[in-house]
Symmetry: C2
Subunit: 383 residues, 2 copies
Amino acid sequence: MTKEQDGQLADDKSARSGSATCPQQPGTKAGVTSREVRSTNSCLPHLDVSRRVLLSVLAASATLIGPPRSTSARAQAQVDLLPSWNDGTSKGAITDFVARVTQKGGPDFLPAVDRIATFDNDGTLWAEQPMYVQLAFALDRVKAMAPFHPEWEEMQPFKAALAGDMKTLAASGEHGIALLVTATHAGMTTAEFQQIVMKWLATARHPRFKRPYTELSYQPMIELLAYLRTNSFKTFIVSGGGVEFMRPWSERVYGVPPEQVVGSSIKTKFQMRDGGPELFRLPELNFVNDGPGKPVGINEFIGRRPIAAFGNSDGDLEMLQWTTMSAGARLGLIVHHTDAEREYAYDRNTPFGRLDKALDAAAQNKWVVVDMKRDWKNIFAFG
Amino acid sequence: MTKEQDGQLADDKSARSGSATCPQQPGTKAGVTSREVRSTNSCLPHLDVSRRVLLSVLAASATLIGPPRSTSARAQAQVDLLPSWNDGTSKGAITDFVARVTQKGGPDFLPAVDRIATFDNDGTLWAEQPMYVQLAFALDRVKAMAPFHPEWEEMQPFKAALAGDMKTLAASGEHGIALLVTATHAGMTTAEFQQIVMKWLATARHPRFKRPYTELSYQPMIELLAYLRTNSFKTFIVSGGGVEFMRPWSERVYGVPPEQVVGSSIKTKFQMRDGGPELFRLPELNFVNDGPGKPVGINEFIGRRPIAAFGNSDGDLEMLQWTTMSAGARLGLIVHHTDAEREYAYDRNTPFGRLDKALDAAAQNKWVVVDMKRDWKNIFAFG
């Protein structure tokens, strides 16, 4: 397997070219403010337009463990439930908000039933570089399925996917990426797909950190999820990624049960086969839970307006607007990837998780912008 | 307002014609088994085909009270949590099933996280005769909106709706009903629609019982919902009805919070207006959660396979199959409307909630068939 094939293309390319020497990406800003950071992979072929198609997948049933136990108020007062967060304005803004909405009799008090919190996944709860995890999954699926599809050797975008030729893959556009997703994510039952995801996650490794992708979840955010639940929040994942790609492991990794995961999906069909019922995954988009689709998905799946939302990219802009532009105490938070050493540094120039409009909106709307380098003591549980 | 206008058409018609003298409905069976009952309204124009279109609506945010408190195991052992159920095979099948899946160390034990129970709404949790409540709502909406739509006086199906002419309304088919639904359910924000629903429910009265529709919920089923939750089940509503029509009151009436309500929906669009975000309801179907759509909806919204499902009509057939045709202890239950005196008696011949294929399937699959007349001590909380 070449380096390009195992997903290191992004890092390698940026290392070779250096972001300072990259040609300006169309549609990105030339000016760089002090709050911005240089992308580690700003010269990558521009895949952003394809995300909506790429990450459209389906729900899978899951057998999962119970939710984490709540810590009592007394125990909570004694321990810091956010130990991976450095003290500072970001941590303070979070704990202040929670104190305000949970203080009985206070002007901003909200009953537990109203404490809905929504979290983006890619780049907010786990790493999305050098490419979305689900894209790495799709590329590995193409390789695994290739022996059964000899025609792929000469057919795009499969040929490019097999060769790790990200440039040609990106050039295939939404249509090409849609072919890739439907070929790898459809044509089996929901139960079968769940098994495929779990088997892949058990063996796949992140190209840089050489660990299972689920270990690339951010320890401070896992603490934050638990901290909110301890304060009677109901935590939801609201991701552009495929809902069926997340549900099999969301409870184990994040403590979020499958019914509290909202994501993109492809259509499924109920049918009886050999006398038994099954849900069969069809090669057709159902719902794209990204950008303006996020408030729509929140309304459709949750039916209530959140009081706190957490994201990291322009795909979270409308979710943050929907959550925070409302009367009463509200919290909007953006995870800003500023730590190239411990993780990645990127914002306005990246094919995955571009943070541009939402970064501008953060200042206008007083959303908390977490500086990963400054605010997080640890990034991953492994160090 | 005439009797026909206020929704009594179904009862009146059947009373006038008498079901025994009705011509055979196309597509219904001539033979009547001992388990069947005569429909009270089998001569109604056949609206069944329109249900999918009619009941397609959208989610609305809701401010709701917290879930009911659990009863401790000790208290549970001391009191009958199903007091409105007569002792017999139906009640016994329910309590036996719950005992089996909750007995630690037993062969059928399932952890709480797997205890997913799904309930149909119309005809299972509340009355659906003489017409679906949401249809009564749509007809009242047409009347309320008519002064702003003088063109409706000569335009079908609005003219028929205004005249209470159910026969012409039914003859307008799916296209006509779609016009009715989109005219009355779309064209406003989700917040506005929620207010419209709540205001209507506060004043509308059931034509026969002269009470708010929410009081037409079945006391034995409300007890069953609470009983399951006491035994650590997570209860969901999975209805062909509009999700936004149910969510504003599902917690208050059933103890089911909005995020645990799955239903049909129309599309919504996120937009900024006057500097604030809103979700605008579009005149376009999004998802029809009926028949084979119910397992699809369960998978999409819940992401897990239920172990118990409760319905009353053919629209619940696939949900019951998906739930019960699986390894391990499973419970399928059908509410059979057998009590014309206290509620309504209907099954194979009715425009609303036809129970035909699912009644046959119940015998094959050993689903519990609740005989309302025999099994329920009380039907409504008011008597």
